[in-house]
């Protein structure tokens, strides 16, 4: 909890306000509860001992009604207010996480991780903020208030309460610690077993293909039965702490009642105070029991906060330029001894030196895994070189704002992702030159009336590639970075693409490919193998 307590205020602005609202309403609730109970005791005692009737007690009864309404209103305001605030905070946090995700190195965070943290985690955090934290405030504020009032009227009852109340968290913690090791070992086995049904069901197509479908029903039954036995073993112990909690609360109430009874007999206490204390006893233990009931909301929320915190702590793929951003002008791009390592691993690109001159076509050849795509990633500034220098028109590229630089770059990724929707929209953006002309240039004109589905569904891999190539060409950027422009294309389409790339006036082109045909007529051919430039030859003709 401690980690989250310091993390939350730092990363979730507004959490203080939420705590203040929750605290205020808890304080109001405490006061109202005491007032209500005192009024209640007064009415009962007046009716019982002084034989007062409804008419004489009407003012007290009306007050009682008014206090009930106030209590309901405070509770309502707290529930709604905390929920709305929590929702707003999580929304804001989610936006920040997602904005950060886009800036980290591509592939560093998987989509599943992102959904788990930002969507599921956000939801868990929202419940934590809206329900768990207010419950904590109630547990912190209400029992001491009640205890104070009771101590003022009957010290002995207060003492009983003071002794039994800490028993709840104390015994809970003791039992938790004693059983932790055993429970954890069993939980691991449980996690495994609980995954079995999912494994079998999602593997059902495979099981059916191998004629093993029907036979699995028995396996499912056996496994679930084992799962039950194991789970019950865990639960028998886990419910013990709930048992202690319950016992402390009811036993506390009983002890208080009996104590009051004895003191009433000996005349040391008035009945109205005694009755009020009796009614207050369950209200004393209630908040702690409520907290225990929200235990999972608390644990899930903390885990979610940790996940979100991890994502927010990820460094951006390229450190932002230190000084004021310098305007960038396109010119000769020079790589000097550029080396790239991911997370301190072996170099993916090693001591590569290269000069890309404006208007020329550079072809980078190499097998898969040779570092071609990483070279393009460096040029796109998706990755910062671990060592070495990149200059553009003589200026250090690392001093340039990455977004500014990318305005000068158009890119065909190895696995293009087109925006789902009409193909024409997928390849054109606000600042594109005629996307239609670009599409026709690479033979994708006929594809423009098609619709792109999720992850390119409805289009073949070759069609996606041609559209993505058109998207790159349509972008009015001087530097074109093309990754495998002929992959998945049949012979005719590949020919068309190769020819289109040979005549691009005013464009500087870098092609990464294992297709040697693209090297025909290139101004410069670089061969990469295991991250090293093997040969930087001039135009092959």
């Amino acid at each position: 909890m401690r980690a989250t307590d310091s993390w939350l205020p730092r990363h979730v602005p507004g959490v203080h306000r939420l705590l203040a609202v929750a605290g205020l309403s808890a304080a109001c609730a405490a006061v109202l509860t005491i007032v209500q109970v005192v009024l209640f005791a007064h009415v009962v005692v007046a009716g019982f001992l002084q034989h007062r009737g409804v008419r004489e007690l009407a003012p007290s009864l009306l007050c009682l009604a008014a206090v009930a309404v106030a209590r309901a209103a405070v509770g309502w305001a707290r529930d709604v207010g905390c929920r709305v605030m929590a929702n707003r905070m999580v929304r804001e946090l989610r936006g920040r996480v997602l904005r950060r995700l886009v800036r980290v190195r591509p592939g560093r965070v998987t989509a599943a991780e992102a959904v788990t943290a930002a969507v599921d985690g956000g939801e868990a955090l929202e419940i934590y903020l809206a329900r768990f934290l207010p419950q904590v405030m109630t547990a912190v504020l209400v029992p001491p208030a009640i205890l104070g009032w009771v101590a003022f009227h009957d010290v002995l009852s207060a003492l009983v309460m003071l002794v039994t109340l800490p028993l709840i968290p104390l015994f809970g913690a003791l039992i938790g610690r004693a059983t932790q090791a055993r429970t954890r070992a069993r939980l691991r086995a449980l996690t495994r077993m609980s995954g079995h049904f999912l494994d079998v069901v999602t593997g059902l197509p495979t099981l059916r293909a191998y004629r093993r479908g029907r036979a699995q029903a028995e396996t499912v039954a056996d496994n679930t039965e084992r799962y039950r036995r194991e789970t019950m073993g865990v639960l028998r112990v886990a419910f013990l702490s709930a048992f202690v909690l319950e016992l402390a609360a009811t036993l506390g109430t009983a002890l208080v009642a009996v104590g009051i009874g004895l003191r009433l007999v000996t005349g040391g206490l008035g009945l109205d105070a005694g009755l009020a204390i009796l009614v207050l006893a369950p209200e004393l233990y209630g908040p702690l029991r409520g907290l225990a009931a929200e235990y999972h909301a608390g644990a899930d929320g903390m885990a979610a906060a940790r996940r979100i915190g991890d994502l927010l702590a990820l460094p951006p793929a390229v450190p932002p330029p230190g000084g004021p951003p310098r305007p960038v002008r396109f010119g000769v791009v020079r790589l000097e001894d550029v080396t790239v390592r991911y997370d301190g691993g072996p170099p993916v690109l090693e001591d590569v030196s290269l000069e890309i001159r404006p208007g020329e076509r550079t072809v980078v050849l190499g097998e898969s895994g040779a570092g071609k795509s990483t070279l393009l990633a460096v040029l796109l500034r998706f990755v910062a070189p671990s060592s070495g220098l990149i200059t553009v028109d003589g200026a250090d590229l690392s001093a340039v704002d990455p977004d500014e630089w990318r305005r000068l770059v158009a890119w065909l990724p190895q696995r293009p992702r087109l925006r789902p929707g009409p193909a024409l929209q997928a390849i054109g953006s606000a600042d594109s030159r005629s996307p239609v002309a670009a599409a026709e240039l690479v033979g994708a004109g006929a594809l423009l009336h098609r619709t792109v589905g999720e992850n390119g569904a409805g289009l073949s891999a070759g069609e996606v590639r041609r559209l993505a190539l058109a998207r790159a060409l349509a972008r009015p950027a001087p530097l074109l970075l093309l990754d495998e422009p002929t992959a998945h294309l049949d012979a005719a389409a590949a020919r068309l693409a190769i020819d289109a790339l040979r005549t691009l006036p005013g464009r500087t082109v870098v092609v990464a490919t294992h297709d040697a045909r693209l090297a025909e007529g290139a101004d410069q051919v670089v061969e990469l193998a295991s991250g090293r430039a093997q040969r930087g030859a001039d135009a092959m003709t």
């Binding site: 019982f48 034989h51 929920r83 709930a242 009874g261 895994g369 890119w411 953006s429 409805g458 998945h488």
Partner: protein
């Protein structure tokens, strides 16, 4: 772009996030309203009949626990009222003992209730899983709607597990509330009839009306919330997958705006739901106070008229107060009931269709698998839907290699399903050794024609068990031979645990290429004469994909017949024939390009 880690290496044992996501199963999304097959809730209740006595025992324990709590408050009130009259201490002894016993009873019965209820619920889970699994099994994969069967199956598992809550959280609390509520009202009525009536009148709306209204109001927004959640999920996934493209083309803000829009919908729904839930709680608080007031007023009058001994007044009010503990969990119970009902409805709808293929009454003897022939096959998914396959012909013999080309959505997978008889064609026929597939037992067809899926599923176990699945009696040399043929044996042999290496959950600890090769070895192990490979390279990078396809096809000349379904043209000269399934939007009809 980032390179994935080198493929020829076992991934370190760490949790991949996919796993984390799977761990948090999300139930399926609400279905459009439509006529249901039977009454799912009634069927679910019937399914619980064998465990009925356990749930009854749980409800009894719960009622005793809660009842002890109510009695504890009443007895305590009576105790201190009596004490205030300063009687002899001895006369209080009985009451004091009762108070202590009740406090113990409450905790003990509560513990018992929890254990019994969870045990009953888990016992039922086994029955429910088997029951739904048996219904689902013949429908997979061709009888399921839509293409995203992976999501459907995950949703199925979540829904099956959600139905068990129907009993534990949806039925037991109302039973307890009924028993305790009625008992408390009866006890009050015994002391003062009008007080009992007031308590009953107060409890009824708290038990029925408030939960019903709360649930009805939340239900109205449930679909909007589920849709917005779905959009949020999908657009977040899109954001991450498309991040490089979005950044490179400077359109990140557009994507973030789409996510924010879904978030706004969620916020509106959340606000409404918060107001509804808070109003329900507030209404219960008001109702409780009103009932206590009514009972107090009735009690005060009765005491004045001498109809009630004053010493019972406190007990009367305290029992009323405590009785409302019974109805407090009911709005949650109603919500859980509704959730379980929704899950049951989805399961009923999902498993309602008749299986797309069934065994004939008297099947022909098992075929040898010399010729698999597709003749003028047509398939569509509904009487008014467009044809997914329209007039496809194909001949596949052992030793022959055919590539089936076409973009996604062009019916390639449907054709694969026809060949292993996961479904039947609507028109035309598929024959094996001259007889329609429909005349054989399904398992006999799948003995000679084996399908390898595009998402080859590896089970959470060892490599050995995953391969042996195809032929449980296979010997170790057979398994090694199959793995060798799939060109993955060298890698496995280099692993410290060899064949007994765990592949991790859903095979996450092996690379995509290895996974496909292990799946391929599984198919080889069957010794089937015809293999249908559905996009084995769909999730591989171009280099790995190229190697795998070349390996598969080069090996085939003397081996089984291979139908390679792909959307990437195979390397020239590796196949005997290419069949092209063009989508119906293109100008050309389905054509064939013979190169054999």
């Amino acid at each position: 772009m980032t390179k994935p880690p080198p493929p020829e290496r076992l991934r370190p044992e760490r949790l991949r996030p996919e796993r984390a996501m799977r761990g948090r199963l999300r139930p399926g999304r609400p279905l459009p309203e439509r006529r249901l097959p039977g009454r799912p809730l009634a069927a679910l209740l019937a399914a619980a009949r064998p465990s009925a006595h356990r749930f009854a025992a749980a409800a009894l324990c719960g009622a005793l626990a809660l009842g002890a709590g109510v009695a504890l408050m009443g007895t305590s009130g009576y105790l201190i009222s009596r004490a205030a009259l300063r009687p002899e201490l001895v006369t209080l002894a009985m009451v004091i003992t009762a108070v202590r016993a009740l406090s113990l009873a409450r905790a003990v019965f509560r513990y018992a209730e929890r254990l019994v209820a969870h045990d009953a619920s888990l016992r039922l889970l086994a029955a429910l899983r088997v029951r739904w699994f048996r219904r689902l099994e013949p429908l997979v994969p061709a009888g399921l709607p839509g293409a995203r069967s992976g999501d459907l199956l995950t949703g199925f598992v979540a829904d099956v597990d959600a139905t068990q809550h129907l009993y534990l959280r949806g039925l037991v609390p109302p039973l307890i509330a009924l028993t305790v509520g009625a008992g408390s009202a009866a006890a009050l009525a015994g002391l003062l009839p009008i007080a009992g009536l007031w308590l009953a009148l107060g409890l009824l709306p708290a038990a029925l009306l408030i939960p019903a209204v709360t649930v009805a109001l939340t239900r109205a927004t449930a679909r909007r919330r589920a849709d917005a959640r779905g959009t949020l999920d999908a657009e977040t996934v899109e954001l991450v997958h498309a991040a490089p493209d979005l950044v490179a083309f400077d359109v990140v803000d557009g994507q973030l705006a789409r996510i924010a829009a879904a978030d706004t919908v969620l916020e509106r729904v959340a606000r409404r739901d918060a107001r509804v839930a808070a109003s329900g709680t507030a209404a219960t608080v008001l109702l409780t106070s009103a009932t206590i007031l009514a009972v107090l007023v009735a009690g005060l009058s009765a005491v004045q008229q001498g109809a009630l001994p004053g010493v019972l007044l406190a007990a009367l009010a305290l029992v009323t107060m405590a009785a409302f503990d019974a109805v407090r969990p009911l709005p949650d119970a109603a919500r859980d009931l509704l959730t379980a009902h929704g899950a049951a409805v989805r399961l009923a709808v999902l498993t309602a269709p008749t299986p797309p293929a069934a065994d004939p009454p008297s099947p022909l003897p098992a075929p040898r698998g010399d010729l698999l022939r597709v003749q003028d096959v047509h398939v569509r998914y509904g009487p008014d839907s467009p044809w997914v396959l329209a007039g496809v012909d194909l001949d596949l013999r052992p030793g022959r290699r055919i590539a089936l080309l076409g973009p996604s959505g062009s019916g390639k997978t449907t054709l694969a399903h026809l060949l292993v008889r996961f479904r039947d064609p609507d028109h035309g026929r598929v024959t094996l050794d001259g007889h329609d597939l429909r005349d054989y037992a399904q398992d006999d067809v799948r003995r000679v024609v084996v399908l390898v899926d595009q998402d080859a599923h590896l089970f959470t176990t060892t490599i050995r068990a995953n391969v042996q699945l195809a032929r449980p009696d296979a010997s170790e040399p057979d398994i090694v031979a199959a793995l060798r043929r799939a060109r993955v044996w060298d890698w496995i042999a280099s692993l410290p645990e060899g064949l007994d290496t765990e592949v991790g959950e859903h095979g996450v600890r092996v690379s995509g290429g290895q996974r496909q090769r292990i799946a391929l070895a599984r198919a080889f192990l069957t010794g089937a004469r015809i293999l249908v490979l559905d996009e084995p390279t769909a999730h591989l990078d171009p280099g790995t994909a190229h190697e795998l396809v070349t390996d598969i096809l080069n090996d085939a000349a003397s081996g089984p017949g291979i139908l390679l379904i792909t959307h990437t043209p195979p390397p020239p000269g590796t196949v005997d024939e290419i069949v092209n399934l063009t989508p119906d939007t293109a100008d050309a009809p389905p054509y064939r390009d013979r190169r054999g």
